[in-house]
Symmetry: C2
Subunit: 306 residues, 2 copies
């Protein structure tokens, strides 16, 4: 039970059809850690700049659940925090990136504290695959390693990404990325093609359409929770991955997760993500308890009892 | 147990990335009836022309399952059968209609045989809503009435469609049509808005992303069966509706179907549709038994046991 996550910390400005949130806490590692901490303590590795608001630090210090160890959060002098401005369309499955300032993300990788080197479960949130490999090498005792990626690296850094895939147990990516990586338009075939590149399992995120798992022992397709009050989809994929990995890391990872464990983990990921999109930034997750997650999981289970 | 379906009978020419099927048996009522007949006897009302191939008639006479009563199949002298030519893209969720010849569909409605007037369950497959109303009036004992529709009628025949919705228990339509009808981009809200127009339940078909039910007692989202060998998606929606209605009609419809019954019906619809897309036209359904459906339903149920 020592889950570590590495990835981006951001200051997001978001506009959706329901409203606008200027300069709010975001980033893949933030959503992931907040979601995973409902299940297990989380160690965070990431870098922000001098401009990182103290209030955001307070938020990270007081996440609900088991909490997040911030020893690996580097507030780098002379650097600025990653910033992202996004605009969602009326159909919130579609968004435009209005502005990106990479800032500290374009500099050297954050340092991994020596105390983190015994981490058993590792989630490599989306960043340059060479960086993901370099970070992973600092966790020699890792039992379960799962990575996310994106179209940018599939298009521009394929050799590094393929090298990474040889080193991970699972890959999480969205449907268009899976098609791009494998040249397969059928999602089952795309996920199966990913398995030939190294991972034991592929999880494809489909946004409002749910998720799919392809594993040597079988295939699982799950719907999203039917949400009628979507305020901000930002972080849905990262909180899904956080719920999934948090659930797995709370169990025994000395053996690879079974199909049944992965299915349950995806269901928890689905539920955490469904809460996350009900408000901007971490607002909704901050108000949540594990009991809320379990209640919605029970309703999700009943919904799927065909 | 007297399910009637009215809709189109067609001669389809289909091209998909996997192959081409020139002049094969198709039409909404054909796919629906073939799917529903695994569950209950089906009465068919539809018109074809003089050119309707005798071999297609033989196929309809020898469908597996409980069979289809063809007393309502009118082979109209001097008329031609409806023809549709479709081309599917590499992503089989997208298709172009290359050519449509309405032919007999542009003429008067088919006659309903007097012996059909005691039908208890009615499925009004997609056609002009005024025609759907006219057909429905010939089934005074109808207990369960479900209709399908399409963008053409939503755009051009809204008053007639709204009148129809006052007369049906359920509406089946696809996601983009639901958004078009209600001006809601969120699917749950769109389906809820449909309920305000009359129906007790809305079923939204999402193709490879599954289906959603909104009912006064709750909401159900179900995934599609994860299919890796899609040959031809034509008829997926109609065979889904056929499996759904066939299951419901095989039960007691004197009271409105419960949420649980509708969920199970959708699951059967999902399973029949998943077989249908494995081959062109009715090829796959013709080889199928109820036991095949039950086996895949059991696998689907296991897949969803989170």
């Amino acid at each position: 039970m020592s889950l570590i996550v590495t990835g981006s910390i951001g200051i997001d400005t978001i506009e959706t059809p329901t409203g606008k949130a200027p300069e709010v806490l975001g980033g893949s590692v933030v959503y992931f850690a907040a979601a995973a901490s409902f299940f297990t303590p989380v160690r965070l590795v990431g870098a922000a700049g001098e401009d990182f608001p103290p209030a955001f630090l307070e938020t990270l210090k007081h996440l609900p659940g088991h909490g997040v160890d911030l020893a690996g959060l580097e507030l780098r002098k002379g650097s600025k925090t990653f910033r992202w401005t996004g605009l969602y369309h009326a159909n919130m499955n579609v968004r435009d990136t209005v502005e990106v300032q990479l800032n500290v993300l374009a500099e050297k990788l954050p340092k991994v504290p020596p105390a983190y080197q015994d981490s058993r479960q590792v989630f490599l949130a989306n960043t340059h695959p060479a960086g993901q490999i370099e970070l992973l090498q600092q966790f020699p005792k890792a039992e379960l390693v799962v990575a996310d990626t994106m179209d940018l690296w599939i298009n521009n850094e394929k050799p590094a990404l393929l090298a990474l895939l040889q080193k991970v147990h699972g890959l999480v990516l969205n449907d268009s990325e899976a098609a791009l990586l494998t040249s397969e338009t059928n999602l089952v075939k795309a996920a199966q093609a990913v398995l030939k590149l190294g991972p034991r399992f592929t999880v494809i995120k489909k946004g409002e359409h749910g998720s799919m798992l392809v594993h040597g022992d079988g295939i699982v397709a799950l719907p999203a929770w039917p949400a009628e009050a979507v305020v901000d989809p930002t972080g849905a994929g990262d909180s899904f991955a956080g719920g999934m990995m948090g659930y797995l890391a709370a169990g025994d990872t000395r053996k690879p997760p079974t199909l049944a464990a992965l299915r349950k983990a995806m269901a928890y990921g689905t539920v955490v993500a469904s809460f996350n999109i009900e408000a901007f930034s971490l607002e909704r997750l901050l108000q949540l308890s594990r009991a809320d997650l379990d209640d919605r999981l029970a309703a999700y289970t009943r919904m799927l009892a065909v």
